[in-house]
């Protein structure tokens, strides 16, 4: 029986290849994702190993939790701590260093990287701890000298002797480039840019006074790193410091990064899962058609004594062989895809390091396991149907596949599936679960809805085909008419073929609608929530606005009131890990329209250091009321018990769950920079003119900030959303591609079935062109059915999923033009998918087609 399966694949190479393509793509995404992320992870391992080479023990401030890129860092280490470490017996040398995000500007005065990879300012440490290898020039030997990593120097076109501007938390300053360094063996620090200056210079730029971000310690001969670490730990209070050996530190640093990169892996796996899911639809369809076409052959097998089980095995075997072959090809294709994915992310600003390719056994195993499993699962239904073929079918004239009880129960089952799917989504959306499991529920729910709708679709194929096919019929006459009839000849087949496309279109429609909603929400929020006219923010998303820039903006002629907002995060006892915003109570009311649930403008005046305002959503979720005290732990470990003085509507998402004063965020959260700065202009002043003046005046001191009008801010947010949208489109295009292959495959099989009809049509005078049209229009109709269903489902999903966001001011808006374009794109996919089948149909030899049995 296995021999028969293999023979079946060998004889139907084309169909097998087309079917396998879906699995190949899905598995290529799986293996490519593994390869890419493993490689990135190892690169970071190497980076941190290099960074801690020659370091026996590292002392860092205790970090309670990570709070993302921008904003806070733990309290620095005082110089007194360094003195205490030096006094520990067994210490050969100890040196403090500074390594913090900062800004490096290119020759045009723009940040070297605007998005993605971070930029750092590094204070030179003792030579034995220095991980950099100076390939050109020398270490910075004076306070006006800087060294850049060779990757950044090359990218910005800097040469030794050039002037390089840097900025930390204050104004930018100029330095002379005296050297170019490699990071250990690598030309960059995992894609990040580093400017090396003398430590006092770094401390000044980053406004650290005489404190450090870490202390590197070397042991005397005879003292092992663990021994030394233990001694240092004893000498320092455990609550404020983390003491690790060099290798422990390398691991800890690498793990911190890997956690963040885990998101990337999950993100890519989601698309791999979607691709495989769509592929499964394609496999179900292909195998169903094949089984139907081979009914007589299978019946003959049964007649000559094959058991049901053997027939089942033959079909399952074919699926298994196909799955294994496709997975192997997909695994190999992953090697090609991984650099492609990396290039894609680089194009979108995320420059990730990778040196060499890391192939874990797990990559191979998972790839080779998932592919056949998906194929098997998809082929099971058709295989069972094949096994139910009655031997007597071999004798009957019309070879029709058996339609048993399953067929009758199909519709209620499909309806139930769709309902269960929606229920799952609702559970994820409105249930008490949070984060990952909620997303999982929504995803699984959506998948179940897809299956249900895909099954139900056979009922609406006919009316839909009428709607999308009639224009074709009017325009193209008989070809359009026949195409429509052909598309509805086997509604189930058409339904499952277009369902594959439906999935991709649904997701594209969903992200399009979601993004449109996001854009209009931002516009609404700015329009309805801001009283100010200007917004100042950092040009690089990884950097805050230097606090000093706020004062500089206030000096600009035409600017009236300036108010800054700071971001951080806290651990709230019994109330999650809320985002925290800091505001200036004296001015915030003049730039922001606050909608009070509890409180008034006067509440702001009494806020003070011990007060807090909270968002209504957060208050409701955790049953908090005015007059209660919150219990917060800040990232620096400080404990606060602010009194809730007011509750605001979170319509404008500029304010987070908890709002404290900027002073508190500066003192207890160690937030020194501003996330946003808003300003009003003097009455009668032209906002755009003031904006231009402000940017001009700030350019010399604070090249890293930009000043926008409200509209400019909306436009910029929109363009960022659009960029992200393109990334989604690129990845979802894979799904559409698979669905396109599904249409191609179905058309090929249909043409095979209708060979004799096509022969007749040609004999009675149908031109090749008309035959091509016939096939093309059928394809377009099939594609449009999928697209119409997909757009409808996308709208439903978008409306459903954004319901919980309504309270945060999310407004849904249906981008009609974009969705129409999506339909047109689907139609084009139909045309493209039909090219080959149409040509094949047109080339049929009339005589042979007529004699075809």
């Amino acid at each position: 029986m296995l021999a028969l399966s293999v023979r079946g694949i060998a004889e139907r190479k084309l169909r097998t290849a087309l079917t396998a393509f879906a699995v190949v793509l899905g598995i290529a995404l799986v293996s490519g994702t593994y390869l890419l992320t493993d490689t990135i992870n190892r690169s970071f391992d190497q980076v941190f190993q290099t960074a801690n080479e020659g370091v026996d023990v590292v002392v860092t401030p205790k970090r309670l939790f990570s709070i993302g890129q921008q904003g806070t860092t733990p309290q620095p280490l005082q110089s007194s701590t360094l003195t205490r470490v030096r006094a520990v017996p067994g210490v050969a040398e100890a040196a403090g260093t500074v390594f913090l995000p900062g800004q490096i500007f290119d020759k045009q005065g723009k940040p070297l990287t605007a998005t993605g990879a971070p930029m750092f300012i590094y204070g030179l440490t003792a030579p034995r701890f220095d991980p950099f290898v100076y390939v050109k020039g020398h270490r910075p030997g004076a306070s006006d000298q800087v060294v850049l990593d060779s990757f950044s120097a090359q990218r910005a076109g800097y040469r030794i002797g050039d002037t390089v501007r840097l900025a930390g938390k204050g104004a930018a300053a100029s330095f002379r480039l005296v050297g170019i360094a490699d990071f250990g063996q690598a030309s960059s620090l995992g894609g990040a840019s580093v400017a090396i200056v003398q430590t006092p210079v770094a401390q000044r730029l980053l406004q650290l006074g005489d404190s450090y971000t870490s202390i590197d310690v070397a042991a005397r001969p005879g003292v092992t790193p663990p021994q030394l670490a233990a001694r240092v730990r004893e000498a320092l209070p455990a609550t404020a410091y983390t003491v690790r050996t060099g290798s422990q530190q390398a691991r800890a640093d690498a793990n911190a990064i890997k956690d963040q990169l885990g998101f990337l892996r999950t993100f890519l796996f989601v698309f791999a899962a979607i691709a495989l899911f769509v592929g499964a639809f394609l496999i179900v369809n292909t195998f169903s058609i094949t089984v139907a076409q081979r009914t007589r052959e299978l019946a003959l097998l049964r007649m000559i004594g094959a058991s049901r089980r053997q027939v089942l095995q033959a079909v399952i075997g074919e699926a298994l062989v196909l799955g294994i072959l496709a997975s192997a090809v997909g695994l190999a294709a992953g090697f090609g895809l991984a650099p492609g994915l990396q290039a894609l992310f680089r194009a979108f600003g995320a420059d990730l390091p990778s040196s060499g390719t890391v192939i874990e056994a797990r990559t191979v195993i998972v790839s080779l396991l998932v592919g056949p499993l998906v194929t098997l699962a998809a082929a099971l239904g058709p295989a069972l149907r094949a096994s139910r073929v009655a031997p007597v079918s071999a004798l009957s004239q019309a070879a029709s596949p058996p339609s048993g009880r399953a067929a009758r129960r199909r519709t209620p089952l499909a309806g139930a599936l769709a309902a269960v799917g929606v229920a799952l989504m609702c559970l994820g959306l409105f249930g008490s679960t949070s984060g990952g499991s909620a997303a999982g529920l929504i995803g699984a729910g959506a998948a179940v809805v897809f299956i249900g709708v895909g099954l139900l679709a056979s009922h609406i194929v006919r009316p839909l085909a009428l709607v999308v096919g009639l224009p074709l019929q009017w325009l193209r006459g008989v070809s359009g008419r026949l195409a429509r009839e052909n598309a509805t000849r086997n509604p189930r087949r058409t339904a499952s073929t277009s369902a594959a496309l439906m999935i991709g279109v649904t997701l594209v429609a969903f992200v399009t609608i979601f993004a449109a909603g996001l854009k209009s929400s931002i516009a609404n929020a700015v329009g309805a929530g801001l009283k100010g006219d200007l917004i100042m923010q950092s040009a690089a998303i990884t950097q805050p606005v230097p606090a000093a820039a706020v004062g500089a903006l206030a000096q600009v002629q035409g600017v009236r009131t300036v108010s800054a907002i700071r971001f951080s995060k806290a651990i709230a006892a019994g109330a999650g890990r809320p985002d925290v915003t800091g505001v200036d109570p004296a001015t915030i009311g003049r730039v922001l329209k606050l909608e009070w649930v509890n409180g008034s403008a006067a509440t702001l005046r009494t806020l003070g250091a011990g007060g807090a305002l909270i968002a209504k959503g957060y208050a409701d979720e955790h049953h908090l009321k005015v007059g209660q005290r919150l219990s917060l732990t800040t990232p620096t470990g400080a404990r606060l018990r602010p009194l809730v003085r007011g509750i605001y509507e979170q319509k404008v998402s500029l304010l987070a769950a908890i709002t404290l004063t900027n002073a508190v965020l500066g003192r207890d959260f160690n937030v020194a920079g501003e996330a946003f700065v808003m300003a009003t202009t003097a009455p009668g002043a032209d906002a755009e003119a003031v904006r231009a003046r402000a940017e001009r005046q700030l350019a010399s001191g604070y090249p890293g900030v930009k000043v926008l009008t409200n509209q400019g801010f909306i436009d910029e947010q929109s363009s960022q959303i659009n960029q992200l949208l393109v990334l989604f489109y690129v990845l979802l295009a894979l799904t559409l591609l698979i669905a396109g292959f599904g249409i191609l495959n179905t058309l090929m099989l249909a043409i095979g079935e209708r060979t004799r009809e096509l022969g007749m049509l040609r004999a009675i005078g149908t031109s090749r062109r008309q035959v091509r049209q016939l096939v093309r229009y059928e394809s377009v109709i099939t594609a449009l059915i999928g697209a119409v269903l997909g757009v409808a489902l996308g709208v439903v999903f978008a409306v459903l999923v954004t319901i919980p966001l309504r309270s945060e001011g999310f407004t849904i808006s249906i981008p009609v033009v974009e969705l129409m374009i999506l339909l047109a794109v689907a139609a084009i996919f139909g045309v493209l998918a039909a090219i080959w089948p149409a040509r094949r149909a047109a080339r049929l030899d009339v005589l042979r087609a007529l004699a075809y049995e």
């Binding site: 006459g477 008989v478 049509l761 009675i764 005078g765 009339v846």
Partner: protein, 312 residues
């Protein structure tokens, strides 16, 4: 009743059907009246005896060459020294090995022969579906060899009607739509009167909205006959039209073909290996090994059986 009449016409019509319909493309009102039989001595080669009716009834203007009254009917289908070889070298098969023939307009010709005699190949070559290795085919004044695929398609569309053994109707279309299909493909308007007349003639009134799956084999083939006639083609080619039918339905379909010749002046070429079917034709060509072994005008069925015995 229509059917009964057709059938009663088909069976005993042996001696009767020689008469040429003296009716220029008019409606077949009253069907053909038996009588005035003129035992048609129509030789194969030269043009048939002067027969004004043939000339007058042009199925399609410009198709039948002789448009002048009284002029001898030009043959509507002429084949000269047709060879058709399949394969190369040792395995080459000469399906046609020097076939020449002339078919006058309005003739009902049966091509017979044992399996592998080349009769199907001959029909395909005559109809422009297959290309001869050498030799020429001239259909309604057009030499097929000179046509590219596009022109051949147009010629088939306008001048040729096909009837297949397996009916080959489109299952997605109704009977009427199947009948109209060749006109729709050609983008020509449907002559509703002509269509309805055909539907009535083939006895499908009342079944027009049915899909092929809802029709019997005989009914399907009658749809196919109407489809072949809807374009008023110069020649109708029928490939074993009764091969898949029971005897009753066979008789109906054959009678229809006969009537199309008698009443409409249609030229019909039918490939068959059924002697009873062939007996309804005016003339029988018997192919053996790719050559015309016999070419006879027939008067009675027994003649056909005798012919076949001799050839075998």
């Amino acid at each position: 009743m229509e059917r009964d009449r057709l059938q009663s016409h088909a069976r005993p019509a042996r001696g009767v059907r020689r008469d040429r319909p003296a009716r220029p493309s008019g409606p077949p009102a009253g069907a053909s009246e038996p009588g005035a039989s003129e035992p048609g001595v129509r030789d194969a080669a030269p043009a048939p005896a002067a027969d004004p009716a043939v000339a007058a009834r042009a199925p399609d203007p410009g198709v039948a060459a002789p448009a002048v009254d009284g002029a001898p009917a030009e043959p509507i289908l002429v084949a000269v020294d047709l060879h058709r070889r399949y394969g190369e070298g040792d395995v080459a098969v000469n399906a046609l090995d020097g076939v020449s023939l002339q078919l006058p307009a309005g003739a009902f010709t049966a091509i017979m022969g044992p399996s592998g005699s080349g009769k199907s190949t001959l029909m395909h070559v005559l109809a422009g579906l297959d290309t001869p290795t050498s030799g020429t085919v001239t259909l309604a004044g057009t030499e097929l060899a000179k046509l590219d695929d596009r022109r051949l398609t147009r010629l088939r569309r306008e001048k040729v009607g096909f009837i297949f053994q397996t009916f080959n109707l489109l299952p997605v279309l109704t009977a009427t739509e199947n009948i109209e299909l060749p006109l729709k493909i050609a983008g020509r308007p449907v002559d509703v009167a002509w269509r309805d007349q055909l539907i009535e003639t083939v006895g499908l009134s009342g079944r027009t909205d049915h899909h092929p799956a809802e029709l019997s084999g005989g009914e399907q083939q009658r749809v196919a006959v109407a489809r072949a006639l809807i374009t008023r083609p110069a020649v109708v080619f029928a490939d074993e039209p009764t091969g898949n039918l029971d005897s009753h339905s066979s008789a109906e379909v054959l009678a229809l073909l006969r009537r199309s010749v008698d009443e409409l002046g249609q030229t019909v070429v039918m490939v068959t290996h059924d002697a009873n079917a062939a007996a309804i034709a005016d003339r029988i060509l018997v192919l053996v090994d790719g050559r015309i072994a016999r070419d006879e005008t027939i008067a009675e069925p027994q003649q056909v059986h005798r012919l076949m015995r001799e050839v075998r």
